[in-house]
Symmetry: C2
Subunit: 679 residues, 2 copies
């Protein structure tokens, strides 16, 4: 009988021969198999669960007998009795190799497991968190060899986990001696290892700590703060929460906040304080909702635009409000919770803020790049993150360009006569019959169209309250397709369009989308001003894309990714009818959902991704729309629907737009269009 045996691990396929009696965990470590353990093989943590396979494995050329592993032992029995263990599972640190064996490592036992995301198009996250738990046995103090208790903790980490040079904050050092003695020199430590090689003790508990560690991925938008509480072991999003950015009271859009700072002594301090208070609140709220001790939140990743970035850091953003839009700092930041006054999470929690790309293209755009990886794309991809400003990334594995385009707040429903934020009751989808010119629509909160007999009942609670960002794009695109709006953007009169829904409003016309006045509800119309606001926004967005295409010397993109919470709701067809995005096959226009938030989650769950996005960002070439000569030209040319200069053959293959002009019939307003085109 041989004194060693063949061990094959699945799914990795790694294999090797080991002396009989070797614990499975030891064999896995020697082969570099990804098998978790917090207690270091002491039968305490149960993270190293494995499933041995028995019988014939022709693929691996091995037959596994039922004696291939040592017998079920007392440690395993006790664990199963107290905590439960799935049938067929063994603890890798207890089961010893007795013969040739095939051992499967289930996903839960892998440190670097992949997290399946709900959205089908989204890529997976490979778990590799910066902060993990380690159980250690610390040497007791010895008067003949006097060293500090912390130095013996460092030695235990080095000897038991090969973790070198751990440091500790003096606040936590205060707690070390009692915890060591309470745990009788056995403790669990949370260790944070960043991508620069710094190793920190973040927290410690006496004995074996049963809990889990959590992190926050926060997308700090001008309007909304979205926070995702993630389990740092399996990457799951435990709770997501969104709240309004409280800075809105200082100004709706970013530039008005910069103005506030310029006009008000200490205005930046007020805004920094407001955002930090809100962040503490949201951290507490998600922890309560998830029934998680907020002190177990040991990491936070932020993504945000440059102005929010500076205001979060407490830096006066005034330089970002004027050319040359200089950032105080552009690199990524690794901070402690105290640096940002985040008092509601673990006091030693580590903060990571992604790098900014330029004064107008922030860490949020870097997060989109991390999520969507244009730098790894084989085909030429345009990624558009639509928010109050639009950030654009264009490129492929050879080169990536970025710019920001001042689309204004119209796409978010602001500065639109009946505009409102995306909330129940807001019109989000619209169809207009090209023959009757009659609309039907859906509102947020109901799946029914407005021409469904059950619609009124289904929306009784919310009512129909206004039009949200995606709704305004759809209705104007539908108006164009139905011949209610001409190529210059003019809304026709009732006489010109043949529908009494077109009503005069001052010297221009409006389209009545919903008349709820009889029931005491609102009159929801699309005005000429609304069309102009959307035209300005879409021209800016399109001009930005064209500017990047010019820089790359291309006149066509292979695919378009719409990112941002708003991007998730835009109908690609309608966006292209309006000419928001360059011509592209409709099936090549996809939504990435909240890609910035996803990027934050990736950076939270995978520490190596931080180094990689930092490298990518340094290679992204930035174009400043404010000084690029081509931008203004493209902007003017993009005003029409469809554009004056650019052909849209891919779009034309699907949709034909009526060749109409209302100019002659309403010279005064039409001139406005002309005047803008000349600008």
């Amino acid at each position: 009988m041989a004194d060693d045996a063949l061990v094959i691990f699945t799914p990795s396929g790694k294999r090797g021969r080991f002396a009989l009696g070797t614990p499975v965990l030891t064999a896995a470590r020697k082969l570099g198999v990804d098998l978790d353990s917090v207690c270091g093989g002491r039968g305490i943590c149960s993270k190293c669960q494995i499933t041995p396979g028995y019988g014939e494995f022709p693929k691996h050329g091995v037959t596994v007998s039922h004696e291939a592993l040592s017998e079920w032992n007392a440690v395993e029995a006790r664990y199963k009795r107290i905590r439960g263990l799935i049938d067929g599972r063994r603890l890798g640190c207890q089961a010893k190799i007795q013969g040739d064996v095939v051992i499967d490592v289930p996903p839960e036992s892998q440190v670097h497991r992949q997290v399946i995301r709900k959205s089908a198009t989204a890529r997976k996250i490979l778990m590799d968190p910066a902060t993990r738990l380690y159980y250690i046995e610390v040497a007791e103090p010895d008067m003949d060899e006097p060293t500090g208790d912390f130095q013996r903790v460092v030695a235990a980490l080095r000897e038991q986990w090969q973790i070198a040079d751990a440091t500790i904050d003096i606040g936590l050092l205060r707690r070390l001696q009692p915890v060591l003695r309470k745990g009788e020199w056995k403790i669990t430590v949370a260790i944070h290892r960043d991508h620069h090689g710094t190793t920190r003790v973040i927290d410690l508990w006496p004995g074996f700590f049963e809990g889990q560690l959590y992190g926050l991925a926060i997308d700090l938008g001008s309007t909304t703060i979205a926070a995702h509480l993630c389990n740092l072991t399996d990457g799951s999003v435990v709770v997501s929460s969104g709240l309004m950015n409280p800075q809105i009271r200082f100004g709706e859009d970013l530039m008005s906040r910069v103005s506030y700072v310029m006009m008000n002594e200490g205005g930046d301090v007020e805004m920094t304080s407001a955002i930090r208070t809100a962040l503490n609140g949201v951290a507490q709220a998600v922890a309560i909702e998830a029934e998680v001790d907020p002190k177990l939140i040991v990491e936070t990743v932020f993504v945000c635009n440059p102005i929010m970035h500076h205001l979060l850091l407490g830096i006066d953003p005034v330089e970002l409000g004027q050319a040359p839009f200089a950032l105080a700092t552009s690199d990524s930041l690794s901070l402690g919770a105290a640096d940002l006054e985040l008092t509601s999470i673990n006091p030693n929690a580590q903060i990571y803020i992604l790098p900014c790309i330029a004064g107008h293209v922030g860490a949020d755009c870097a997060a989109v790049a991390l999520s969507e990886q244009p730098d790894k794309s084989e085909d030429m991809v345009l990624i558009v993150d639509v928010g109050t400003n639009a950030e654009l990334l264009l490129g492929n594995k050879d080169r990536v360009m970025a710019c920001s385009s001042p689309t204004g707040p119209a796409f978010e429903g602001a500065q639109i006569s009946a505009g409102q934020r995306a909330a129940p009751g807001a019109i989000e989808r619209v169809e207009i019959d090209p023959v009757t010119k009659e609309p039907r629509f859906r509102v947020i909160g109901s799946d029914l169209w407005s021409d469904d007999p059950a619609f009124a009942a289904a929306t009784a609670q919310t009512g129909v309250t206004g039009i949200c960002g995606s709704g305004i794009i759809e209705v104007i695109a539908e108006m164009r397709m139905a011949g209610l709006v001409d190529a210059s953007g003019l809304i026709g009169s009732a006489a010109q369009t043949g529908t009494r829904r077109c009503i005069p409003t001052g010297r221009t016309n409006s389209y009545v989308l919903f008349d709820g006045t009889e029931a005491g509800g609102p009159l929801i119309t699309v005005t000429q001003g609304d069309v102009r606001a959307i035209q300005l926004g879409k021209s800016a967005l399109y001009a930005g894309a064209r500017l990047l295409m010019d820089q790359l010397g291309i006149d066509k993109v292979d695919r378009v990714v719409l990112a941002g919470a708003f991007g998730a709701h835009i109908s690609p067809k309608h966006a292209m009818v309006l000419g928001m995005i360059p011509d592209c096959r409709l099936d090549k226009v996809t939504s990435a959902g909240n890609a910035a938030g996803t990027g934050a989650r990736i950076a939270l769950c995978n520490v190596a991704s931080r180094a990689s996005i930092e490298k990518v960002v340094k290679r992204i070439h930035k174009v400043e729309t404010a000084i690029a000569p081509g931008f203004q030209e493209h902007f003017v040319a993009a005003n029409a629907i469809p554009h004056a200069t650019d052909p849209f053959p891919e779009l034309a293959a699907v949709i034909s737009l009526p060749d109409i002009s209302f100019n002659t019939h309403n010279a005064e307003t039409g001139t406005g269009g002309h005047r803008r085109r000349r600008g």
Copy 2:
């Protein structure tokens, strides 16, 4: 004519050939000559002053003509006019090489200059501070290559000073943008580079900053806080200040402070707060006295015993009060001012705390080792730092041992009937005539002996108030030499000694050192209890030294260094008569003054010394007196004056002690002596 020339620098002797027209500063840098510059050769800072030599230099084999350097230029003229320049001096960045030349670098122009200390025995400090000023010109922001302002500062430091990877605290980052713009992209930065390779921007100023940087070396004793404000350019001590440790109100000695913590919930927090408040006060006081902006104090080095170390850090010292005397942390600490709530100095000031050697042997002892360098000694040296506890270092370049000995507070004048702190009016020197048994003495504040006719007038202001630590040692040693005290430590009666100054006090005798009662002053006596207290302290000190000698297997030391503020005042002869220290030639007993404070100053002024003392400390072998079996034996044997067992031939060669015993005449008290000897 050659197109290059020979350049010889003195005092380094470095030489090389350089193209004509090369600035002297450039030549110095290429040769690695230690020539200072803050502005990087821009003719602003004047740190690179040099003195060219003209004429024959036979030693160097060169003749220097008066045309060897370019002519005095406008920059130099302007500098001389405004700031003044010593005749014969040139600015190294302005003067260009035109022919063979000998150039002297005066000490003020050397970065690594040596600081001459006042005390003749003390070694020199080589200047190599962690924090220095650098003048840089920063690239302006460029929209085509958008990087953060701080990233361009980092680039300037790398390109202009070869300083890589500078980091900045976000508090300071807030000030960066306005300072850059105010200085029109020229700024001066204070850079701290520690011995672990971390590089931090500590502060910044628009344009060229004319000021100097300062550091504090603080010896944080149980009783006294001594702070030295040092100029970080030339190492000079600008102001020294001492104040009482405010923790004294929680307990005179360290163990009573530990007891206070154990008995009072939050007692450690109170004490930490008291010491930090005092530190802020002393920092402010020295800055005001020196007329220095406290924000220019950019570094602080602390040395202290382990309990003060923990209380400074805010760590409960309870473990240090009981075996096994475990430190929370023993390694050196690099912290920020905020970590210790030092709000009165620069908010980004860096703190360095020397490593502790053991639970009883602190960072103060490490500082003594740094100052006195037993690890580099050729002969066997015993270093005794006498304070409330005594720390001992024994060894040579082969091996160094350390221990702490519980001498008690008697050496500081506490627990002595007429004892007092060293202050004007305290008796510090004593002589007793062996024939008449009459004493004469000197008090702090006057150079006159008490038998001088002018003494009364000279001390009229202070009076004679008590006996300080060095005085009590002298008087008891003198009493022993004059036959007033026998070998067991008993004070004889008037009948036994033949002097009426020996008076009965209860069942024992006292010696009247000074009777001021007629003038309403004090009666200052030395009681039997005083002799016993000193016997206990000296036995502990001697036993510690013997324990270390046993460990090294030696029975003789080559020399003894007395350290500590108190050590500076001890008379070696009297210390040896008492048997405080092992037998040694009297001329081999020296005082190192406040060696712990000197060690702190060295660590402050020379960053490389931090790495070196950390290495030395790791090699020092510690002996715990509390568990060493030999200690108790040595302690008991050392009670007598001279010792019962150890021969003192070196002492006997100088002084003979009367062979007397008062036991038979005063059996009751004598038994006390016997009893102790048996203990």
